[in-house]
Amino acid sequence: MRRLPWARTVFWLYAATLMLPLLWMFGMSIRPNADILGAFSLVPQRVTLENYETFFTDSTWYSSYLNSIVYTSMNTVMSLVVALPAAYAFSRFRFAGDKHLFFWLLTNRMAPPAVFLLPFFQIYQSVGLFDTHLGVALAHMLFNVPLAVWILEGFMSGIPREIDETAAIDGYSLPGFFFRIFLPMIRSAIGVTAFFCFMFSWVELLIARTITSVDAKPIAATMTRTVSAAGVDWGLLAAAGVMTIIPGAILIWFVRNYIAKGFALGRV
């Protein structure tokens, strides 16, 4: 293939534009506030780790970071536990209304999350789920389970039914087949689905902030409340921003080869 003369230049221009905000944030996170607010410079004048030090020692910061990780992980696991058997049923069995149910599952995702704020807030207050990790994880399942079912169903439908039948002939029980034969076959699908669930729950701010106050407060909520009497702590905010990128970056590394298929809901 012949290379276009400007291809390389255009690529680097694109990459630079894309990376600039991230690099800038990283640069801010290793500068003191005085430096950030001082004269403009591309290269940090003084490199410091004190922003990260504050992030890891101030309990409002690190505990909300942990809160986010805890409820996001809970949500991912719970969504998968519910979605796996549901997706299997949708892909393998015909029952009355199956196609409608499958389609209408997605309507949960069509409504803006704000619609659900008030009901969640009031119900959680009365049943004691307010400001708990479980509460946030359950609320996010409303959006993640339909998505997970759709992605998993797409992957599962690509697996020949004859494998299920062969397993039945070989005397496997349905759970035996599901855990020993079927799940290993859709490992990549589970990885991709987990990634999507994690990322949604990780970046979702509105619901998570509304139904928490202190004990389960997410990192994103903490980040929006950094304005103090002394002004905005830019460096600390940037350090927190860098920290919030890390879990997603780690996850995406593991499922990088399957993401495209996941975006197509497993249907390619």
Partner: protein, 364 residues
């Protein structure tokens, strides 16, 4: 009835779905040993196999194994094994674990010995540690067959197992299977659309067409004297040539040629003549041969054979299967010769009236 020999019975089995009939009141007895099931695409072979295995339940009718009605017994509880046309294995398990999966109830050493025995038999000895995706198509199907053979079962069903393999592998595996089935116990049903396979196994054969049993019997006899046109077509590959004929004064006339009718028929009766492509020649070897002027349309050369597509009078199409590589020019004129001794004479409604110049005893 020799009751203890009857192992698998389909009793009035019909399968209908969405207004379509896949099997229509099928009554069959499969005895201990190999039975071949032959039929064209869409004849209902796979449906019949799936019903026999218990993978789907018949709309009406019963399935009996060794005299017991198993129609409502779950496939998990039945003593069956099934090999699909597609190569179906557990991709996450090694070849060894694939073959061992029906043997989970056996003690470890016993299962291990059996897995190695079957793997050796199917020529998989050196691949036991591999996963199915790391094998060739032929080896994948061998793995599937090995898994089906591992556990001794009452009913072993193979649904066109060689159809997706290439020519060489198919011949080799076909020969291996023939020796394997000769020693097996229990009912073995082998379905195929390929007459060569059915003829190689030379086993009792069921001919299926459009969901109905067309004929049951010895495949070699059926080939020599097909009872109906449908059976003759099913057993002929390349397709059977068909020519129209008319009985006139004790002779059968066909496109200007004629030969003595093998048995007396009323004058003016229309018949259909079936000729296997390998019985069509382009040079005369016997005086009695019927001669048809023809135009060459196409010559397909496969190496060991040449398939000559001819156009006769009245736009009738005739295929000649000639030995070796022969070169022809499309548009060339030639003459096709057919020995009346190798013509099947069928009645208008497809029943055999005469084969190999010998009269067929038909009532009426």
């Amino acid at each position: 009835m020799l009751y203890e020999l009857v192992a698998l019975i389909l009793d009035g089995v019909s399968v209908r779905q969405g207004g379509q009939t896949w099997l229509d009141r099928v009554d069959l007895e499969f005895l201990d040993g190999l039975t071949t099931l032959i039929g064209p695409l869409g004849a209902g072979k796979t449906t019949l196999m799936r019903v026999a295995a218990g993978l789907r339940s018949p709309t009406t009718g019963r399935i009996l194994v060794d005299g017991k009605d198993v129609s409502s017994v779950s496939v998990r509880k039945r003593s069956v094994a099934f090999v699909y046309q597609q190569f179906i294995n557990y991709p996450s398990l090694t070849v060894y674990d694939n073959i061992a999966s029906p043997l989970r109830s056996l003690p470890r050493e016993q299962a291990d010995a059996r897995v190695r025995e079957v793997a050796e038999l199917m020529g998989l000895g050196e691949f036991l540690r591999r996963r199915p995706a790391e094998l060739s198509g032929g080896q994948q199907q061998r793995t599937a067959i090995a898994r089906a053979l591992a556990r001794p079962v009452d009913v072993l069903l193979l649904d066109e197992p060689l159809a997706n393999l290439d020519y060489k592998l198919r011949e080799q595996l076909r020969a291996d299977l023939k020796t394997m089935f000769s020693g097996s116990r229990g009912v073995v049903v082998y379905s195929t659309a390929d007459p060569a396979e059915a003829l190689t196994f030379a086993a009792p054969t069921v001919v299926l067409g459009k969901g109905q049993v067309l004929h049951v019997g010895s495949v070699t006899e059926m080939y020599a004297r097909p009872p109906t046109l449908e059976v003759a077509r099913t057993l002929s590959d390349p397709p059977l040539n068909l020519l129209p004929g008319v009985v006139r004064d004790g002779r059968i006339e066909c496109l200007g040629a004629s030969f003595p009718a093998p048995r007396a028929h009323e004058s003016g009766r229309a018949v259909r003549l079936g000729v296997h492509p390998h019985q069509v020649a382009i040079s005369r070897s016997r005086a009695e041969q019927l001669a048809f002027p023809a135009e060459i349309r196409l010559a397909e050369v496969t190496g060991s054979a040449t398939f000559l597509h001819l156009m006769l009078a009245d736009d009738l199409h005739l295929v000649a299967h000639l030995e070796g590589t022969q070169v022809f020019e499309p548009g060339e004129r030639t003459t096709a010769y057919v020995d009346p001794a190798h013509v099947f004479v069928f009645s208008d409604n497809g029943e055999l009236l005469a084969a190999s110049a010998t009269e067929v005893d038909l009532h009426g």
